[in-house]
């Protein structure tokens, strides 16, 4: 797959990430965990059952997407023109054609701002609702707090063979479980569903292994497996968990429904074309299949939004495809009657600088990191369509009306999914941690 690079030049291998935690059962910790768990009840009423998060890593420009500033001077305004949307008076930038036409179906938040202007920290803040505890570098991939996906995996779980949290094609920088433990790490689908050879690693049989041979093997395995199990639950035999996971894995491999969720070839050509025949479009389609299969949280990681240079030619090519794929996802969910219960969210870690500039050593202009303003798209799961929350100033410098925080944003997601954003979690060290420190959701959207 094509690796996306950010300004500092790092790439991320595709992998599963594991958090801290899951230490051996230590008493104090256990009791605190139980204490924490006992507070699970009484969350808000869920309006969404599942969430697709489109993560625009690098930080997309709000000017060129959902918050154009036609009245600003040229060096702010940029090369693109505004267009009207389905909501009179609200403008999008010119390449957001399909989304502009369907703004009735989703909401925009234009007034989230924070103070973490580098990728590592911004990712962490927006993905977890918690600012990094210590200053972190731009290229950092950090985790101090569980990500939304891991929390949802823990709170909502999944009652069929599929894992509860997927991330494609990689885990986002701060998308891990942190102290919740490895069970809530995302299941990463690295391969490209736009490729003919697409398959999800390890969930289907090796390509040249016949099903009959697999059956023989599992049959043989059951004959060979002679390890004595400690049946008394008090003995805490770790083999019991191994057995469960083997069975779960076996069910995933042999479950037609689970395999169908991965089998993007079951979609008609028309549907596949509608989402766009590129990696991102097909990942959006796969995300829809996964949530249909019962997965409560899917992250579609979409890198490469860090446009320090050459911003206009790049976006001119990229935005129409992106607009098409996201609009197709929302419309497809709507047509299938799933939009009411499925939250779709698209954002990056921050917006971009109002003034267009050419960095030293670069030949073409771009915009740089800017956490004072950004645009966030939210659709479905009870989100009132056509709502535009807040506004930035005339030049797009800063959110000025109805200023909101990453905490408000993350609380909104949890609230919609029926998870109390104010609940207190306990780390394995017994330290209490608020799920979100300011548990106020965005009232216009819930």
């Amino acid at each position: 797959m094509a690796r996306q690079r950010n300004c500092e030049g790092t790439t991320r291998r595709d992998c599963l990430q594991f958090g801290i935690g899951a230490l051996l059962g230590t008493g104090l910790v256990d009791s605190l965990r139980v204490l924490g768990d006992s507070k699970n009840t009484g969350g808000p009423k869920a309006t969404a059952k599942r969430c697709i998060l489109i993560w625009m890593d690098g930080g997309p420009s709000h000017f060129e997407t959902f918050d154009p500033k036609p009245d600003a001077p040229t060096e702010f305004r940029g090369e693109f023109s505004p267009i009207n949307t389905a909501v009179p008076g609200t403008l999008f930038s010119e390449h957001m054609v399909k989304l502009a036409a369907s703004l009735d179906d989703f909401a925009m938040i234009r007034s989230i701002r924070h103070n973490q202007g580098n990728h590592g920290a911004g990712n962490h803040y927006m993905m977890t609702g918690s600012p990094p505890r210590i200053p972190v570098g731009c290229g950092a991939f950090v985790s101090f707090h569980p990500s939304m996906g891991s929390v949802v995996a823990k709170e909502l779980g999944n009652n069929n063979a599929l894992p509860p949290y997927f991330s494609m094609p990689q885990m986002s920088r701060s998308g891990g479980p942190n102290f919740l433990g490895a069970r809530y790490a995302p299941f990463v689908v690295a391969d490209d569903p736009n490729k003919q050879s697409f398959k999800v690693r390890d969930v289907a049989l090796p390509k040249d292994l016949a099903t009959t041979r697999f059956d023989q093997r599992t049959d043989l395995r059951s004959k060979i497996d002679k390890m004595v199990r400690l049946n008394d639950e008090a003995a805490a035999d770790p083999v019991a968990a191994f057995d469960q996971y083997f069975e779960q894995g076996y069910n995933l491999v042999t479950s037609p429904e689970a395999q169908a969720a991965f089998n993007i070839n079951q979609e008609s050509d028309a549907t596949r074309d509608r989402y766009g025949r590129d990696s991102f479009g097909q990942r959006c389609l796969l995300a829809r299949r996964l949530v249909e299969g019962g997965v409560p949280f899917v992250t579609v990681y979409d890198g490469g939004w860090d446009h320090h240079q050459n911003i206009f030619p790049t976006l001119r090519k990229r935005l129409p495809e992106w607009d098409n794929s996201v609009a197709a996802l929302i419309q497809d969910l709507k047509e299938r009657g799933l939009l009411d219960s499925t939250l779709v969210v698209a954002l990056g870690e921050f917006g971009r600088t109002p003034k267009i500039s050419t960095l030293s050593g670069q030949k073409t202009p771009g915009r740089d990191h800017w956490a004072n303003a950004m645009s966030v798209l939210m659709a479905g799961g009870g989100t009132p369509g056509g709502t535009v929350v807040g506004a930035t100033d005339r030049k797009g410098f800063s959110a000025v009306d109805r200023v909101l925080s990453p905490e408000n944003f993350v609380s909104t997601i949890y609230h919609k999914l029926g998870i109390d954003p104010g609940k207190v979690l306990y780390t394995p060290q017994g330290r209490p941690a608020h799920l979100v420190s300011d548990a106020t959701p965005i009232r216009e959207l819930v």
Binding site: D202, P206, I224, M227
Partner: protein, 735 residues
């Protein structure tokens, strides 16, 4: 006199039934002075006002912030009497003070009703306001310690016991503070404790520590709940004892009325010792030789042999790399690689542990020449290094005390910044970190300037050890040398015990103290005499890791079977049986390489490298990621997950790489298939290779039926057998 004020409890009460609060004397008249620190603050802590989720959190709650758990009296006094425009206390009409109306829910209170109007607590606060809200009662004594009675006890299942907490003051007075103390059990299924200090033993056998906290003082009551049926002492006397470890383990088991499991089989021991000591699985040849050997001392001979192998050094270095290795994207590839070499080399030299720690903690020189200084390239501030060093080498987790007094321990911010001050004068030259490349060289030396300030008082901190003395004088060129001497001093019990506990936990799969680097009075060891003895043995052997591993591996306790007997299923922390564990990611991958016969290759590593020799977790390996290795992106990066996951099961089941290695024409399976070995020989080879044991009769028959069937495809049969074995717990786990 504050000490005899309104909350004195009836001394006669020792055992209460049910969960009613212990009886309290009626509040006496308001003439008795109420002291802010001795009387009022404990109420705020007892009723949760100062807890982390409420007013104790960093931003407070509803605009009202108190110090976490009331460790900062001045701060709390200011918050109550002066902030919020003084409306929290109202001298003219004390009953109308928010400090009273909120907790009894007379006005809306986010925290709900905390106590009743008219309760002793209510009157105490009321009296304090009426008396003028003084910061201190003149001549009020200061709290010196608390004790809990009893300090240790043995309970029967379902028995209850009321604890008594007593505060001791510097003027010799004492006071019963049971009603104001906080109680917490570290094993609530074994012995639970309610908020009034009533301990209830559960239905299972084991022991628990009940932590009692009052003001900034802690005490612990150790509760043991033995099995109901006693075991005759003669049965313990008859147990074999290989060395002092067994004495201590059996003594603890005797207290619990538990008998240990049987000795494990030779085959189990071989695989257990080889994976534990060398991080690899035994080769078929080794299996045959060991099982055939008639030597009565063959187990200890095996241990001796394993300890000489280079794999021993790489395996244990790999564990320490987990704890020490920073993210190469942060500090630079070359620094991390040099650091790895520095650590690995010392394990290969079998360097005494005190020497290792001394060289590391006081490391000087260039990141390109002395890998040890990478520690200081990564941890750039005194507080970052201080936290790491105290946690790794003396098991003291100071990080809580960076921002507030440690909630379960005596450590204050003074301790934290005093310890950090040893690292204040580190000199640096060259280029610092510049992620993600950070490729430049940096030098570290004993500098002459630099200091650490207390974040609250602003005072410049003098270097001060956590206990004992380690004085920095005018002649000291590098305070780190003084610290290194203090750390590694033969008198420093924690230094040897932390290492002994880590090694014990690695081999026994459960630390005497858990988490292994969290040593504190409120987290007692499950067997302190054993921990003492192990630490002493380690020190007396010249801080030798080899000797520590040897004494553990040679103990009878280490060699117990994992199978439970009628006594010990419930035991998960007293070593009455061997606790199973999943093999580490690197051990499993190297094992797979040994089994398949197809060498794995790792980026930027020479051919023939084993997984445990990889110097950075940035090396791409789906297998290692799947089975869990520390994630350098996490903070802290060192934790490893011993759990099984569905992703692991799927990987063993379906991984293309595992599949193609098994089917490779150069694989062991292919070679076996092409050979003219009989089905019996092949079965022996497979079982020895994967499980490190000989096949049993029914297993021989099974393999023979498959291999000798008409039209059998020998290669496929062997591949399928290998696949099946790799997917069983007998491969993935150490038994």
């Amino acid at each position: 006199m504050a000490i005899t004020s309104s909350l004195v409890m009836d001394q006669g009460v020792s055992v209460a039934q049910g969960t009613e609060p212990p009886p309290v004397q009626k509040p006496v008249h308001s003439q008795q002075p109420v002291d802010f620190e001795n009387d009022l603050q404990p109420v705020l802590t007892r009723f949760g006002c100062t807890s982390g989720p409420c007013h104790g959190k960093a931003r407070g709650q509803g605009g009202f912030q108190l110090s976490l758990l009331g460790f900062d009296a001045n701060f709390d006094y200011e918050a109550i009497t002066k902030e919020g425009r003084g409306r929290r206390v109202f001298a003219a009409a004390p009953e109308r003070s928010l400090l009273l109306m909120k907790p009894v829910a007379e006005v809306a209170h986010g925290g709900g009703k905390r106590f009743e109007k008219g309760s002793p607590e209510y009157h105490l606060i009321l009296n304090w306001i009426k008396q003028g809200m003084g910061r201190k009662v003149p001549d009020a004594p200061s709290l010196q310690k608390i004790t809990v009675t009893p300090a240790a006890t043995i309970l029967r299942n379902n028995e209850t016991l009321q604890l008594t907490a007593t505060a001791h003051y510097n003027n010799g007075t004492t006071r019963d503070v049971t009603r104001l103390a906080a109680f917490q059990s570290n094993e609530s299924p074994i012995a639970n404790v309610d908020e009034y200090g009533l301990v209830s033993a559960g239905t299972i056998t084991g022991d628990a520590a009940i932590m009692v906290r009052f003001s900034e003082q802690m005490a612990v009551c150790e509760v043991t709940i033995p099995r109901p049926e006693p075991v005759p002492p003669a049965m313990y006397a008859a147990l074999p004892r290989s060395n002092f470890i067994d004495e201590h383990v059996w003594a603890k088991l005797e207290r619990l009325h538990i008998l240990p499991s049987d000795l494990c089989s030779d085959e189990t021991f071989l695989r257990r010792a080889t994976t534990d000591i060398c991080g690899r699985i035994p080769l078929p040849q080794e299996v045959a030789e060991f099982l055939d050997s008639k030597s009565p001392g063959k187990r200890s001979e095996l241990v001796d042999r394993l300890l000489l192998e280079p794999d021993f050094a790489d395996h244990w270095a790999n564990k320490w790399m987990d704890l020490l290795r920073p993210n190469p994207y942060r500090v630079g590839i070359k620094s991390v690689m040099n650091y790895d070499h520095w650590i690995r080399e010392r394990f290969h030299q079998r360097m005494p542990w005190n020497q290792f720690v001394k060289e590391l903690v006081a490391a000087r020189g260039s990141t390109f020449r002395n890998g040890a200084v990478t520690l200081f390239r990564d941890r750039r501030t005194p507080d970052e290094v201080g936290t790491l060093v105290s946690q790794l080498f003396v098991g003291v987790r100071l990080e809580c005390a960076k921002c507030h007094h440690h909630p379960f321990e005596k450590w204050s911010q003074d301790d934290f910044y005093g310890f950090a001050a040893y690292f204040a004068k580190i000199g640096r030259k060259g280029t610092g970190v510049s992620p993600p490349i950070s490729g430049s060289e940096e030098f570290f030396f004993a500098g002459s300037s630099g200091s650490v300030q207390h974040p609250v008082t602003g005072a410049t901190m003098q270097p001060k050890p956590l206990f004992g003395t380690a004085e920095v004088t005018a002649d000291t060129s590098d305070p780190r040398d003084v610290l290194a001497e203090w750390l590694t001093s033969p008198d420093n019990q924690l230094f040897v015990q932390v290492m002994a506990n880590r090694v014990w936990a690695d081999m026994m799969n459960r630390g005497l103290v858990e988490p292994v680097d969290d040593f504190r009075a409120t987290n007692p060891a499950s067997n302190q005499p054993l921990l003492d003895a192990l630490g002493n043995h380690f020190r007396d052997s010249g801080f030798s890791l080899t000797e520590l591993v040897r004494i553990i591996a040679n103990s009878h306790a280490y060699q117990l079977s994992s199978l439970t007997n009628e006594h010990n299923a419930v035991d998960t922390r007293n070593y009455s049986r061997h606790y199973r564990s999943r093999l580490r990611a690197e051990v499993l991958l190297d094992a797979f390489e040994d089994i398949s016969g197809i060498p794995q290759s790792y980026g930027a590593m020479p051919a023939g490298t084993s997984a445990k020799q990889i110097w950075t977790h940035r090396t791409t390996s789906l297998f290692l990621d799947t089975f869990g290795r520390p994630d350098p992106n996490q903070d802290p990066p060192c934790e490893r997950v011993p759990d099984s996951t569905v992703v692991q099961s799927l990987h063993l089941m379906n991984s293309e790489k595992i599949h193609s290695d098994l089917l490779n024409k150069n694989s062991h399976a292919a070679k076996l298939a092409e050979s003219n070995q009989t089905s019996t020989d092949i079965a022996k080879e497979l079982y020895r290779r994967v499980y490190a044991r000989n096949p049993r009769q029914d297993e021989l028959i099974l393999v023979a039926e498959l291999l000798d069937a008409k039209d059998a495809n020998r290669k496929q049969v062997i591949e399928d057998l290998m696949w099946a074995m790799l997917n069983t717990p007998e491969f993935v786990f150490q038994d």
